[in-house]
Amino acid sequence: MKQTLQLIAAPTVMQPGGYVPEAYKDRTQASTPTVELTAEKAAARGWRIELQWACPQPVSSIANETDLFPDAAALMVPVVADAPWITMGQEDKPVEAALWRADREALYQLQAEGLGTMHRNDAPAGWSAQSQWADGVYRLVFQLKPWAALDQHGLLGIALWRGAESDRGGLKSVSSGWVSVS
């Protein structure tokens, strides 16, 4: 089922430390305002999740530069049903995510229990993504097998980072809550 989601700027005021909340307090508009999400589950093949979003200036390489950030997208799922979305979980209420970066082939797997706690590892063998950028639009297809937390709760959160806007870390466009895909 295809859904069009409105994204919001992740609130920078909640970011840990003294710099980001102050320096980026003007970041109130999502740098990517909408995304189209299609999530399908095929018993044998696991989850196929497609994202499409407009991106006029893609950044797919940051090699040999100091001031570039890559485009990126993450799918986050709660490991326990009431893990909060906007803070990326909290202590004892973890979330997991699959992170795609435009400058890398392989996905990362993320785990977090609150802002600033995220751990990044190589994704499991059954996880992959294919991306295509044409005419100002990204089309990104994740194949994720298995993903027990997604099977169990059927909830997804989306985050998009636009390299051209120096999005990274907490500077991102996010869905306004968990999105049901079951």
Binding site: P16, G17, Y19, N64, T66, L115, R120, S166
Partner: protein
Amino acid sequence: MKYAIEKPARQVAMVMDLNKCLGCQTCTVACKKMWNTDGGTDYSYWNNVETLPGKGFPKQWDEIGGRTDQGAVKRGKIPNLDSEYGRAWSFNHKAVIATDAASGKKEWLKPKGKPDWGPNWDEDEGTGTYPEDNHYFYMPRLCNHCTEPACLDACPRQSIYKREQDGIVLVDQDKCHGYRFCVEACPYKKVYYDYQRQVAAKCIFCMPRIEEGVAPACARQCPGRLRFVGYREDQEGPIWKLVDKWKVAIPLHPEYGLGANVFYVPPMSPEKFDSQGNGTGEPRIPTAYLEQLFGPDVHKALATVNAERDKRKRGEPSELMDILVAYDWNENFKLDGAVREVI
């Protein structure tokens, strides 16, 4: 500071006497060869020496943010590799090696392309009109291992920390995800980005040497004997004497409010000439300019250094001059002996 940080048991610190810097860059090279020879840090200089007045390294670092002149957070800029740091030049080595004397084919060693910026690009340019008031001086810079580090406060992952035992500010590169908020936030632009390993990298105050009781390479290698290293609180050491007792060593841009632990004895200068070539009694380096760099304490610091120098000229003793002259350079450094457990 939003993060609560423990006050370290003591704080290592450095004083540099700008009246003695030769601009030889031995410190820069000593540091570079020791810590930054990898591809992703080829452009970076944990220690650099810039000519002032001048653009500095990275270019106009004091204008690209992190802190306001009231010490408030201000969004900073990540310097660009080409226009602000200066990309490491590549040279025509192959063509030079292929030079064939017999055939008369000659190729001189030169950079590929036409560089238009790099570290130390404006070396010795300075400002003013010769012979009336031309002037410049050298400004060696490294991370200040601040008491309230802007870099530390900028990291949402808390990958930057201040060591409990000596206050050295370090990046935990295993935790760092290369967001570069620290690069933006440091108003001295002393955190760099290793673009190959995609992590932040900064001066470690030669931490393994400190643990052996040995001063950092930039300080030990300095032929000008102008660097002093010790603990901030040690009343027997050179730092306390120059900073707290004599009050001649002051931090760069104290208005940023970070509590820098690197201090400078500001430069004195010969007098200006009038159009007839007579001395005017005014220093060539305008004191107002030095005040922009070091804040209002620069007046007192200069007055003290001048007065103590005059004393010495009259043949009277001066503890301050004896320290600054550095008769025995070993006395520039006062650190504890080895504290590292050797395994």
